[in-house]
Symmetry: C2
Subunit: 418 residues, 2 copies
């Protein structure tokens, strides 16, 4: 049975408790700020500390540049007028870098999680040497960092979003990029440092891109409080991620969520992963375009697919519907296994929902054993605009800042070349 | 982002803290008792409380009948000789009742989780009125309770293990039993109360049987510390459960783990769940026996299947190998999605492992994308003998006792008819 042998009553020292409480207050202001306006009294009620304790913590957070106070005062429910608190729009920020098959997207978010700078370039990364792709991404990141500096934002770390199996800083396998055992963090950090001589070196982390898109959906997507969902993103590959009770399921080796390689037909087409008949071969971007008769090399092929489907082109509509059926079939197995609150479709699926969702929903209704799935119930839904991997990556960096602001307080001065 | 707004420093009152610490000490003695002998000093070290505090808690647990002290003394590593502590072999106990398609098994476990009384009857429950099946189960339970009373064990609650979708005390759907919307807890509790006039009424809970078998495996199975695993149990149906980081995944509606209804072939045979081509139609007991040419109505048909496979009967070996391939194919999808440490096969699969496991392992090796699955690596394993649903159900009842022994201290007198 579950053994939790820690006695009640933490033996934490005063400094640890204060750092923890600074984080609580900072997060409370951010969360309250989303709903309306945060005040010291409101935060005190929310976190369960005294008004006096919260005031002292707020002063420290203002002094360190994490919070700002608006001049505006207003009458609280009770007591004297309060001052509205906000998380700072300058200072610590996170840099997210999504490297996908046919584009690189870089994003900087602030303490509130708002995307402040975004730069996206469409590039064909397939078959290019990994070092070259990562150097290109570092170039885009360096330019994005300059724009961020102009807004007085200072990224404290970078996170890479990568379309493959990521662990220990490396890409173990990214079949659609043709990458195997690529030390992505090291290559990116080196390239970025080379482009910014004399500047402080950004710590770099990395994560699977579907995982980060799912986190962005969880954090910013307005999922009607769905805390457990399966996330699928249609790209060149089909990425997947599982969020259970508000936490990303990483799996025993960090490789959970690989729904793109669930078998649809064991005798089906060869997949780049080495297996046959994977979902990706039926519902990935290439399969979809091929079935619709659209050249993958054409300009904006997915927009063209959407255009044709909207115009009622039978071949396009049929291709998307068939992909939807295959998605639904695989999803029904996943739903039977996981029983999530919702299934969220992102990437190219977002724009294809009108033709993709009904057949997928129908398969789910037929095959989910609980009988709880009914077509049009809203359990199958499109991801929000907010759900993108670059923003999720940038927000992941900010998790560390929010968890222990004191650790980042000293780094708050304007950046200067040394 | 995850908001944990509870401040450090619990505001728990003294009574709450003491009850919590009594639970800590009781669980520590039980866990230490598994490894060797528990002493006050050892427990103090383990739970992080002072020796004096632990002594006082131990006295209360002895007085209430939860712990016993063996007369035997021995020299500790340091200090004066200690007395060995053990959890009591009498007193509070849990009653587990597994109602499956072709048998009912009832088990009583003590505080240590040891199965102390077991009664199993082979019955064909298919198509029988649910009330009748539950009344039969209550009869077996009543007889088991008499045997438990002779051992001075006093079950404080009963848990039902049921082969279907269970929530809110009812079976929503158990296709192989033919049950729909059956208020199982109520029917069982009523029948049991009727058989024990004047006795105290046992609180009854219920859970999916594969979930409970998986918990038994987690708690008693010696899984080499695997805390995340997918559990499959071959019965008339194919049940499944997911344990992630030592916790059962119940899902948004309590229906997670239904791997038996993952689609193998959308055009395959009709399944009792209403869908087609589910795993159960390829790897369930009926499908296996049919493919092996064994009459399902024969005596001990699964033992016969094992016997024939052991004797090298080509049809039997082929049937089991084909079921293994289908299992492996579905499992590969689940492993790609979840990335568990291990996959554990229970029920009829345990005895069929020599012929079932190699083809399943081969499919997994071919289809798990991380390349981390290799045949014979031990990630695919048979469940231990301990992994049965009735014991899991009984142990689930004991969780409440271990979590708050004080709540059960008053019920420790010998049971008398009133």
């Amino acid at each position: 049975m579950k053994s939790n042998l820690a006695p009640l009553g933490p033996k934490a020292d005063k400094d640890t408790v204060r750092r923890h409480n600074l984080s609580l207050v900072l997060r409370a202001v951010r969360d309250e700020g989303e709903a309306g306006e945060a005040t010291r009294a409101g935060v005190a009620g929310r976190v369960g500390l005294t008004r006096a304790a919260v005031s002292s913590l707020v002063e420290q957070l203002i002094d360190s540049g994490f919070l700002t106070e608006s001049g505006k005062t207003f009458s609280g429910q009770a007591g004297r007028p309060g001052t509205a608190l906000k998380v700072a729009r300058t200072g610590p920020a996170g840099l997210g870098v999504e490297i996908n098959i046919d584009y690189v997207s870089v994003c900087v978010v602030d303490l509130a999680g708002t995307g402040r700078v975004r730069q996206t370039e469409h590039l064909d990364n397939r078959g290019a040497p990994p070092g070259e792709v990562l150097a290109r991404a570092a170039g885009i990141a360096a330019r994005t960092l300059e724009s961020a500096a102009e807004q007085e934002l200072r990224p404290v770390g970078a996170a890479l979003a990568l379309p493959g199996l990521v662990s220990g800083g490396s890409v173990r396998q990214a079949p659609n990029l043709g990458w195997n055992q690529v030390p992505a963090e090291e290559l990116f950090a080196g390239a970025l440092a080379g482009l910014r001589p004399g500047r402080s070196v950004l710590p770099v982390s990395s994560e699977n891109e579907a995982n980060l898109a799912a986190l962005a959906e969880l954090w910013f997507g307005g999922l009607d409080k769905a805390r457990s969902f399966l996330y699928l993103t249609g790209e060149i590959g089909v990425g997947g991620a599982l969020v259970l009770d508000g936490e990303l399921l990483r799996g025993a080796h960090g490789f959970a969520g690989e729904i793109g390689h669930v078998v649809v037909d064991p005798a089906g087409p060869q997949c780049r992963c080495g297996s046959r008949g994977c979902l990706e071969q039926y519902a990935g971007q290439a399969a979809l375009l091929r079935a619709a008769g659209i050249d993958e090399g054409a300009t904006g092929p997915v927009a063209e697919l959407e255009r044709r489907a909207r115009a009622g082109d039978a071949r396009a509509v049929g291709a998307v519907a068939e992909a939807g059926r295959m998605l639904g079939r695989v999803l029904s197995g996943a739903v039977n296994l996981i029983d999530p609150e919702a299934v969220v479709l992102g990437g190219i699926y977002r724009g294809l929902m009108p033709w993709l969702a009904p057949p997928a929903d129908e398969e789910l209704t037929d095959r989910v054993v609980s009988g709880l799935w009914s077509a049009g119930s809203g359990r199958l839904r499109a991801s929000s605009v907010a759900g993108d991997a670059a923003r999720g990556a940038a927000a992941l960096v900010m998790q560390d800042v929010l968890a222990d602001p004191v650790a980042y307080a000293g780094r708050n001065e304007p950046e200067v070349a040394r």
